[in-house]
């Protein structure tokens, strides 16, 4: 099992959800985050004082999936979240030691 984390532009969330649903991914956790990579900030003025806007609002999607779904999932996310503009985000994968379903106590792949 692997944890896939994707940081994407917020308005792309619906498309990414649909794309993951289409390949059979059972669930996900979504959070609102801020960040930057190559998308640099810009300067604004508020009442005569300058301020930097460089942490941009993003959405983070996390889902634990089977090993044999990883490539499919990465492709689904990357295609759905892509706009071609700087700031589209990143996807990464880390291994998961164990998963437990709280209601029933199922462990490992049975919990997915």
């Amino acid at each position: 099992m692997k944890l896939i984390t994707a940081v994407i532009k917020p308005f792309k969330l619906d498309e990414v959800k649909e794309a993951l649903g289409a390949i059979g991914v059972g669930g996900m956790t979504v959070s609102e985050v801020r960040g930057y990579g190559r998308q640099k900030g810009h300067t604004e003025i508020y009442r005569g004082a300058e301020y930097q806007v460089d942490l941009h609002p993003k959405v983070q999607v996390e889902t634990v999936i089977f090993d044999d779904q990883i490539d499919e999932a990465i492709k689904a996310i990357a295609v759905a979240a892509n706009t071609g503009e700087i700031g589209d985000g990143k996807v990464w994968v880390v291994p998961v030691e164990n998963v437990i379903r709280i209601r029933t106590g199922d462990k490992g792949e049975d919990a997915l």
């Binding site: 604004e44 003025i45 508020y46 009442r47 005569g48 004082a49 300058e50 301020y51």
Partner: protein, 450 residues
Amino acid sequence: MEQQIVMDTMWTLLAAFLVFLMQAGFAMVEAGMTRQKNAANIVMKNLMDFGIASMAYWAIGFALMFGAGNALFGTTGWFLGGGESAFESLSWATPPLTAKWLFQVVFAGTAATIVSGAMAERTKFPAYLIYSALISGIVYPISGHWIWGGGWLAERGFLDFAGSTVVHMVGGLAALVGAVFLGPRIGKYSKTGKPRAIPGHSMPLAILGVFILWFGWFGFNAGSTMSATLSIADIAVTTNLAAAAGALIAMGVSWARGGKPDVGMAGNGALAGLVGITAGCAFVENWAALVIGALCGVVVVFAVIAIDRAHVDDPVGAIAVHGVCGALGTVAVGVFASPRLIESAGVGTEGLVYGGGLAQLGTQALGVGAVALWVLAASTVVFAAIKVTVGLRVTAEEEIEGLDIGEHGMWGYPETFLGIDTLGTPDAVAQSRQERRVGSQVLTPSAGES
């Protein structure tokens, strides 16, 4: 005759209620222009400064301001005693004494509440309560006596119809002294002295506040006739023209300077126009009201920035809007006072542009200067005294965590700071299940009974 008095009273009271609502306007502007972690504190300050002003002005303020006395302050009418005869300076107005008092107390409350904006986000709450009592009980009434209470400025023909100086400059300069004594908010200025932006948390609240103030100002200016005459329509129009001009021009200036039209500055511009026209709303023609509003719209933007650069931290622009534009609007009467309006008022002389020379202008400047000196000196005494006794500013730790939790033990926006509702503890859920079980047993008897 009788009917006229009733109409005068109804109008005066309606206007008083409009001006009262300006307290909500100030509360919303100040809440919107400051951060969420201080929102409960700022509206609490606004709620209380009106409560305190009501008490202080009833007890001693109204007497000091309108009671018979000398050229500097009144000495009769404490606690509204002494009847109508104790308040000779208001005998020109026909409504009963209580109506006159109510109309005047909401003006005192306006002056007091101007200051909370400049002192927002770092002032100890008890310190603010003490200051409120002193400004509405003593500082505001004394300069008010000079101008509206038959004092020495009134005798010289000083003109301030609805209070650009009496109310707004007084509040604005007290705000300046308070902000200076406090010092800037943590993080407001960088190590090199450059101002940092601390954006307000809600422009919708701020502009709602501006609209409520603009609405209330129709009572503030047109109500100052304290009589139901046709002139209230003319006054409402000069008021509106100045507000609109101020808003548009301030928007334009901020657009030109910053590349985009700043919402807060535009709001300040509308208020600056309103403050500016308050002195002359009954004395100047429509075109002059536009000029005064526009002038204040320009000045307020530059004043906000200049005051910021002087390292006086004013989160809402109260000093620029009320202090600077209050003075400007008062002096402007000496330039634009129209002969026909001066004549029907029976006070003062026509302005510079009508060939009246420097006479009225000089009187206006004298009054502005004298009141400014009084307020600066008196406020300095008040804030210095508070600083060395109760203490004026909160600790750095409290300022960073927020005054809501520090001063009031609660949040204006609990869900932002405490997180999502986590009250579904095991006990609470089990308790709820138990209660439902018991409840259904009472309603539906079991098979063994009935």
